[in-house]
């Protein structure tokens, strides 16, 4: 699974939650919640959607590995490899 594919999928799910934020305007290595202005409920919605899309458990214990856009792309890519 390529980074590009995962990245596009993540961008799409984030767009559902934060349609007003454009990827070009944010720091992809920065804190996901800050950059996309999402709260814990939004984050849970995102994790739920990604879990279904990639057929992953997305355990809460792994949340520290999901703290930026780039980190989340790596996480999804590694788990799906």
């Amino acid at each position: 699974m390529t980074d590009q594919y995962v990245s596009a999928a993540l961008a799409e799910e984030l767009h559902r939650i934060a349609p007003d934020v454009s990827l070009e305007d944010v720091d992809l290595a920065g804190d996901l919640r800050e950059e996309f202005d999402i709260d814990s409920m939004d984050f849970l919605t995102l994790i739920t959607a990604l879990g279904k899309r990639f057929d992953l458990d997305m355990p809460e214990a792994d949340y520290p590995l999901m703290q930026s856009f780039n980190a989340l792309v790596s996480y999804l890519r590694d788990r799906r490899a």
């Binding site: 559902r16 800050e34 709260d39 814990s40 919605t45 809460e60």
Partner: protein
């Protein structure tokens, strides 16, 4: 023949704008079907049919703003004689004035399901007790027992952002004409703007106006008193982590559900925090409908009600909270949720500051604020150790209660949160 009216959704609502006609002339309409979406200062609200029948004709065009009580459409009861054509065939509107029912023609009891629309300008318009079949986030897995309630209507409609909906209404664009080509994607304001090519109009002043009206009234009329307390959330946090460790994301808890439950249990012991102050007297409420302050993307805030939280288990509370936040963020409310709250919870989440001091939402009498939890030095079992601490605050109405009772209320909430297994 009965008229389908622009409902009143609060004392401060004088008019609304018809933004969607979800049924056409000649369509069969069943009790509970969503017939229209209207836009008010508070957002887009779906309006349901209150009787079975046939939609004879629309009386108001999409994009029109009309006063509360204005007939939006005529609905002929299924057993009424057909006067101007067989069902299923669009009918020519009757010439002359549409039949306008007068307020005194309506049944006086506000909770009759047949009541076509609330006319009473009091801030507690009755809503029908039926759940609305809209589900803006089909990804969420629903347990079996709620599946019937969230079935069919919403899923075939295109997803559309509130700003886009507003834009479409301003341009007089019929959203259903867009549906077929756009299903599966989210229609954004840019899509609508591209279609109508007129300059953007900022939607915010409306919501700002609604907040200004309610908060000014609160500060003018309600003698607030304020209390604050610190609560150790370490055990609650561990409880949530343990509960979630073997759960799929859709079944996970957030701390917010624990806050709601802790408040509901505390209200049982200090009931004077829950109810409405109207006409110089306090009317306590038996059910607990907790308003939940939800910030909107792009600014603004709404506090729709989570209904009847006293009877809900934690998982049910979480599910309802998730459903409410998802719908509200998608710009969808049910009418009862906008008017029935009996107490409010406002929580800063994990990206805020230590304390907030709430402004009571009239005619309620209390608002509980939860600051952002943080690790602080704390004396625990005789040792100073880092613990997860949050400041919880209460703003309450001094006409109804005093600081001693308010303090008891906050302490009970804190105690409930330190024993999460009991929630």
């Amino acid at each position: 023949m009965s008229a389908f009216l622009m409902p009143s959704l609060g004392a401060d609502m004088e008019a609304g704008t018809l933004v969607e006609q979800l049924k056409s002339s000649g369509d069969i309409v069943k009790h509970g079907d969503i017939v229209a979406a209207i836009e008010t200062q508070k957002g887009v609200i779906e309006i349901e049919a209150f009787q079975d029948g046939i939609l004879e004709s629309w009386l108001v065009d999409i994009g029109s703003e009309v006063p509360v009580g204005t007939p939006l459409a005529n609905i002929r009861a299924a057993d009424e004689p057909v006067l101007s054509g067989p069902p299923g065939q669009p009918e020519v509107p009757t010439p002359g004035e549409p039949e306008v029912p007068q307020p005194h023609d309506l049944p006086p009891a506000p909770n009759l399901p047949e009541d076509p629309a609330p006319q009473d300008p009091s801030p507690q318009p009755p809503g029908p007790e039926i759940p609305m079949p809209d589900l803006p986030e089909p990804e969420i897995q629903w347990p079996e027992d709620t599946k019937n309630n969230v079935a069919t209507v919403g899923q075939s409609r295109p997803r559309i952002t509130p700003a886009a909906r507003r834009r479409a209404a301003q341009a007089g664009l019929d959203l259903s004409s867009l549906g077929a080509q756009q299903t599966g994607t989210t229609i954004t304001r840019a899509d609508i703007s591209a279609l109508v090519e007129t300059p953007r109009v900022d939607p915010l002043p409306d919501m700002r106006g609604a907040i200004a009206a309610a908060m000014s009234r609160s500060k003018r009329e309600i003698p607030h008193y304020y209390l604050a307390h610190q609560v150790d959330l370490t055990d609650a946090d561990a409880f949530v982590a343990k509960t979630n460790s073997d759960r799929a994301p859709e079944d996970r808890l957030l701390m917010g559900a624990l806050f709601l439950k802790a408040i509901a249990l505390a209200v049982r012991k200090v009931p004077e925090m829950n109810g409405h102050y109207e006409n110089n007297e306090f009317n306590p409420s038996e059910p607990i409908h907790s308003g939940l302050a939800i910030s909107m993307r792009g600014g603004g805030l709404v506090a729709p009600a989570l209904l009847d939280i006293a009877t809900l288990k934690l998982d049910e509370l979480m599910r309802n909270m998730r459903d409410l936040v998802t719908r509200v963020r998608a710009g969808r409310f049910r009418s009862r949720e906008l008017s029935d709250a009996t107490i409010t919870l406002t929580s800063l989440g994990d990206r805020g500051v230590d304390q907030l001091h709430g402004v009571i939402y009239p005619p309620q009498v209390a608002i509980v604020g939860i600051g952002t939890p943080s690790l602080r030095p704390w004396v625990h079992e005789g040792q100073v150790v880092p613990r997860l601490i949050a400041d919880i605050t209460l703003a309450a109405d001094h006409r109804v209660s005093d600081g001693r009772r308010g303090a008891l209320f906050l302490r009970i909430i804190a105690e409930n949160l330190t024993t999460p297994e009991a929630l």
